[in-house]
Amino acid sequence: MTAVGEAPERAPGERVRSLVRPDRVHGSLYTDPTIFAQELEHIWYTTWVYVGHVSEIPQPKDYVRKSIGPQQVIMTRDREGEVHLVLNRCAHRGNLVCEAPSGNSGSFRCPYHGWTFSNTGELLGAPFNKGYGGKEGLKELGNLARVPRVAIHRGFVFGSLAEDGPSLAEHLGPAADRLDQLARLSPEGEVELTAGFVQHEVNANWKMLVENETDGYHPQFVHSSIFSISGSSIGDLYSDKSTAVTRALGGGHSENDLSPEFRRLGVPMGWAGTLESKIPDYVASMRETYGPQTGDEIMINGSPHIMIFPNLFVAEIQLFQIQPLAVDRTIQHVTAIQFKGAPDLNRRLVTQCVGSVGPAGMLLADDAEMYERNQRGVAQLQPEWLDLRRGLHRESTDDDGFTIGTATDEISMRSMWKHYLTLMAPQGGAA
C-alpha cells in the first residue's frame, strides 16, 4: 500500500546525509535523541556488533551477561560447546530471566512465574500448564528471542540482530587479519579474556569514543601529563616525526599502525614497554612455537591498535567494548588482553592496563574528561560543524589499496563517517 504523504522508506536518510560532509560533520549527530534512535535501528540492531569472547564461557553450560548496545544479551555455551546469544527477556511478561552476571546452568528460570528456558532459548516448561491447555498448549508459547546471526572469529563472538546482511568475514574485511595478529602473540595462538572487566561510564555520545580511539592527534595533548613524568615514548609515536600511519580499513574500521616504529626500534616486546629479560618464559615459548626468526618478528611487530566498527577497540594490551545507552551516555567495558600460555606476560599486562584504563586510569580518565567536555561543547549553537579535514590534502594509498595518512591525520574519522552514511542513509535503489 502506498499513500500520498507517507513517510519515506528509510526515514533518516536525507537528513543524515545533509549532516555528514567529506570534511566536516554536524554537531547534532552527537546530541539529537532522534538520530540516536535511528542509529540503534540502522547500526546497532543491524550490523555485526562485538559481544564477547569464547574464553568467557569456557565450559559447557557456562553463560555470561553481555550487550548489543542497550540490549541485554546472554552469551551461552550449550552442552555440545556451541555458542548462542539470547535476549534477556522472558517470553511471558518480559521479565529479565537472568540476574547473575555469569554462571553455569543449562537453563534459565524466570523468577516471576517460573517459566523455564534452555540456554539456547527454547521454552522448557511453564508451571500449572493446564492454564495453557496442558503440555500441548505449551508448544504455542514463545521462546527467548535469539540473536539471529552469531559468528566467531579467533574466539571473538559477534552478533547481528538482522536476519540477513553481509557475512562477518565481509564485515570485518582486513580487520580480521588484525585479530589474527593479536592471537599470534600467544604461544598457543589464542587470546583469553579472563581478567574481568572494569565498567567506565562517560556522559558522552558513543561516536566521540569511536572517533578518539584511532585519533593520533590527541595523545600529545590529552596525555602529556603522564608522558612527561613517566618517560614514556608513546607520545613520540603520535608526532610529526613518527613513521607510524593511520589507515582506513573500510567498513568503518581504522587503525594506528605503529609497527613501522616498532620495527625501527627492533626490540622484541618493545611495543609492550617491556624487555625480554623480564618475561623470559614467554619469549622462550614464542621462539619455540614459531621458530626464532618468526617468533622475534611477531614480538617486534607487536599488537594492533584498531577500532573495529562500531564497538570493539583493541589498543595493544587492552580491549574495550563500547556500549551506547543513550545519546549522551556510553559505557566502556575494558579488560587486559591475556594470551594463552603466557602467565608471566599476562601479569605484566594486567598491571600496565590497570594503571592506564578505567575510571581512575592515568590515561583513560583524561580521555573521558575530553569526551564529556566535548559533549557539553557541541551543545553550543555555533559554529555547528566539527572539522575533519586534518591530512585531507596528504591522503595516499598504500600497497594494499587502503587510504593512509600520517599518525596524526583524521583518516579514521572520515572513513568512519563514510561507512556511517552507508548504514544510516543507503543510496541507490529501493531497499
Binding site: 565498567q199 578505567g358 574528561e369
Partner: protein, 180 residues
C-alpha cells in the same frame, strides 16, 4: 576481651606481660581515628605531598572491581604500589591531569571505625567512607568500605595498605580521578 585487646582499641597501656602487637607501643582507637580524619582531610583539600607522605615504602593502594578477584591477575579500578602512588601524585602535580582540572571539590565523612586485628606489626582498621564530589559534570556520592593497615613509623602512624571497596565497584562508574 583481653586487656591487650582492650589496649589496642582504646590506647590504654597494656598490662605488663601482654604484648599488644605494636613495636613501639600500642596503636589506640583515638590515634587511629585522628589518622583517618587527617588522611581524609588531606585528600579532600588536595594536599598531595602531605597525603603521599602518609604511605610506607611498601605501600599498596587498592580499589577493587570485585573484592574476591586476585588483583595480580584481574582488573582493578586502582592497584598501586608505592612507585605508582608517586606517579599518580606527580601526574596531578603537572596541572595537566585534565580529569582533575579543576580539582574536584570534595567533602568526605569517615565513620564506623573499628580496629579489627593485627598483621605482623600492622594494625588493621575497618571504616566506611562517604564522599561528596562536585564537578562541572555533576555532584555525586561515592561510598565504600575501607580497610587500612597502619604501622608505627618514627613515633607516628603511616599507612602500609588502603583498600576501598565501593558499593558500586562492579557497576558502570564515571571517572574517579581524585584520591579516594
Amino acid at each position: 576481651m583481653t586487656a591487650a585487646a582492650q589496649s589496642v582499641i582504646d590506647g590504654t597501656p597494656a598490662p605488663v606481660g601482654e604484648k599488644p602487637g605494636a613495636v613501639d607501643g600500642p596503636i589506640g582507637h583515638l590515634e587511629v581515628e585522628q589518622f583517618l580524619y587527617r588522611e581524609a582531610r588531606l585528600a579532600d583539600t588536595h594536599e598531595l605531598d602531605a597525603w603521599e607522605a602518609l604511605w610506607t615504602d611498601d605501600a599498596v593502594y587498592h580499589v577493587p572491581v570485585d573484592d574476591s578477584w586476585d588483583p595480580r591477575t584481574h582488573m582493578s579500578i586502582i592497584f598501586d604500589n608505592r612507585g605508582r602512588i608517586a606517579t599518580r601524585i606527580k601526574q596531578l602535580h603537572t596541572g595537566r591531569r585534565h580529569a582533575q582540572r579543576p580539582p574536584s571539590r570534595l567533602v568526605r565523612i569517615v565513620s564506623n571505625i573499628e580496629i579489627v586485628g593485627t598483621e605482623g606489626t600492622d594494625t588493621v582498621v575497618s571504616s566506611v567512607v562517604q564522599v561528596i564530589e562536585s564537578r562541572e559534570r555533576d555532584t555525586r556520592t561515592w561510598a565504600g568500605r575501607v580497610t587500612h593497615k597502619l604501622r608505627r613509623v618514627d613515633g607516628g602512624l603511616a599507612m602500609a595498605y588502603k583498600k576501598v571497596v565501593l558499593v558500586d565497584s562492579d557497576r558502570p562508574l564515571l571517572s574517579l580521578s581524585f584520591l579516594i
